[in-house]
Structure formats: structure tokens, C-alpha cells
């Protein structure tokens, strides 16, 4: 619940701030900015640049997470959901943020926040329900690069469709 609350909070802030920008920016400019963000994120995931957008550098110590069992990360639900106070190994969360900021409506922003919270929960829950956290971690590390590129491609595809197919 904390994950969803945190993510929806950030989405609400983004769509509120965006309501100041959207009326004064022409739609082609908004679409162009979202597509530029998409290309930047995808290029980063493919290893074409090493620029990281602002985030907290420190991770929650693994000993603290381990104290909560397989789903220990869920103890930091709000922080993980809003993404402000946790480590971000990827620039990908900036893509929905920019998209919500520039082109979304209120219901769309809430849906994106809900999705982000569910996505973060899916990691911890998947690890927990696999009943073998070590195996899950190994699978993630083994395929991490391909998985990150696949997820970035999916997000870029969705963001592109949302701004180009009105």
C-alpha cells in the first residue's frame, strides 16, 4: 500500500506541476520533449551513455532489508513508491514522470502512479512467491542487461504511442 501511495503522490505532484506547463506549451513541443526523454532513457539502458539523472546514491542496507524476510523491501513502501529517497539503478522512471508532467490528464497520472507502485511491488512479491529469493536474485543479475533493455523498449513504445496516437 505504501508503494502505491508513494507513487500516486509523485504522479499527483507531477500532473499538478504539469498543469502550469501544458496550457502554454504547444502539443508538438510536449511530444518532442517526451520523445527526447524516451531516446535518452533507451540510449542509457543500451549503454550508449552513462549519464544518471538525480537520485539518492545510497541504497537501503541489505542487512536491513534481509531482516524483513523475502519481502523485506516492502517495509520501505512509501520511499520506494515515490522513488525520491531510494537508489535508482535506471533512468527509466523519469520517462513516465516526464510523460505525466507534459501530456497526461489526472486519471492518466493516477493510473501511471498506480502502475509504478504495482511494478515496484511486483519485484518484491515475485521474489517472495518464487519461494527462492537467491534464485530470483541470480536470475535478475544473470539477465539484468537484457531485462533492462526490454523494459526500456516497452516503456518507450508506450510513451511514444501515448504522445503520437492522440
Amino acid at each position: 500500500m505504501g508503494l502505491i501511495t508513494g507513487a500516486v503522490t509523485i504522479a499527483t505532484l507531477a500532473v499538478t506541476l504539469g498543469s502550469l506547463l501544458r496550457p502554454v506549451e504547444p502539443r508538438p513541443v510536449q511530444s518532442g520533449l517526451v520523445l527526447a526523454a524516451a531516446v535518452f532513457v533507451l540510449a542509457g539502458e543500451c549503454g550508449l551513455h552513462r549519464i544518471t539523472l538525480p537520485h539518492r546514491r545510497a541504497q537501503v542496507p541489505s542487512t536491513v532489508i534481509a531482516a524483513g524476510g523475502d519481502a523485506g523491501a516492502l517495509r520501505f513502501g512509501f520511499e520506494m513508491g515515490c522513488g525520491v529517497r531510494t537508489h535508482l539503478p535506471s533512468n527509466l522512471p523519469y520517462l513516465p514522470l516526464v510523460t505525466v508532467l507534459l501530456v497526461s490528464s489526472w486519471p492518466a497520472a493516477l493510473a501511471t502512479g498506480l502502475g509504478f507502485g504495482l511494478g515496484r511491488a511486483a519485484m518484491a512479491l515475485g521474489r517472495h512467491y518464487s519461494r527462492d529469493g537467491t534464485w530470483w536474485d541470480h536470475q535478475w543479475r544473470r539477465h539484468e542487461r537484457a531485462l533492462r533493455i526490454a523494459l526500456a523498449l516497452a516503456a518507450v513504445l508506450l510513451a511514444g504511442a501515448l504522445v503520437l496516437l492522440p
Binding site: 507513487a7 504522479a11 541504497q59 537501503v60 532489508i65 523491501a73 520501505f76 522513488g83 531510494t86 537508489h87 535508482l88 539503478p89 535506471s90 527509466l92 522512471p93 520517462l95 513516465p96 510523460t99 497526461s104 486519471p107 492518466a108 497520472a109 493510473a111 501511471t112 502512479g113 498506480l114 502502475g115 509504478f116 507502485g117 504495482l118 511494478g119 515496484r120 511486483a122 519485484m123 512479491l125 515475485g126 512467491y129 518464487s130 519461494r131 527462492d132 534464485w135 530470483w136 536474485d137 536470475q139 535478475w140 543479475r141 539477465h143 539484468e144 531485462l147 526490454a150 523494459l151 516497452a154 516503456a155 513504445l157 508506450l158 510513451a159 511514444g160 504511442a161 501515448l162 496516437l165
Partner: protein, 55 residues
């Protein structure tokens, strides 16, 4: 449910593949027009899941 099946269902490769498939379906024009909320939801989902392995 056997451990092998359980791992296959909840493993990161399967979940990512599922998200990719859903994203492809949701980004198709007719689906986007009929159910735009799904595309926004999936945009958040993929970004959230991409942060796996961190906290």
C-alpha cells in the same frame, strides 16, 4: 504448484516478457483508443519493475 512452475511464473524473465507483450498490445492503435488507461498503467508498471534489485 511445483517449485519449477512457481519459479517460471514469478521469475523476472517471465514477468518482463509478460510486460513486453502487454505493452505491444496496449500500444496498438485500436487498443490505445479503447483502453488508454491500460497504456498509462503499463508505462508505470514497466518503470517500477525496472527498478528491481534496488531499494
Amino acid at each position: 504448484m511445483t517449485p519449477v512452475v512457481r519459479r517460471a511464473i514469478f521469475g523476472p524473465v517471465m514477468v518482463t516478457g509478460l510486460l513486453m507483450g502487454l505493452a505491444l498490445a496496449a500500444a496498438a492503435g485500436p487498443v490505445l483508443h479503447a483502453g488508454w488507461t491500460l497504456a498509462w498503467l503499463l508505462l508505470g508498471l514497466t518503470a517500477g519493475y525496472a527498478l528491481s534489485g534496488s531499494a
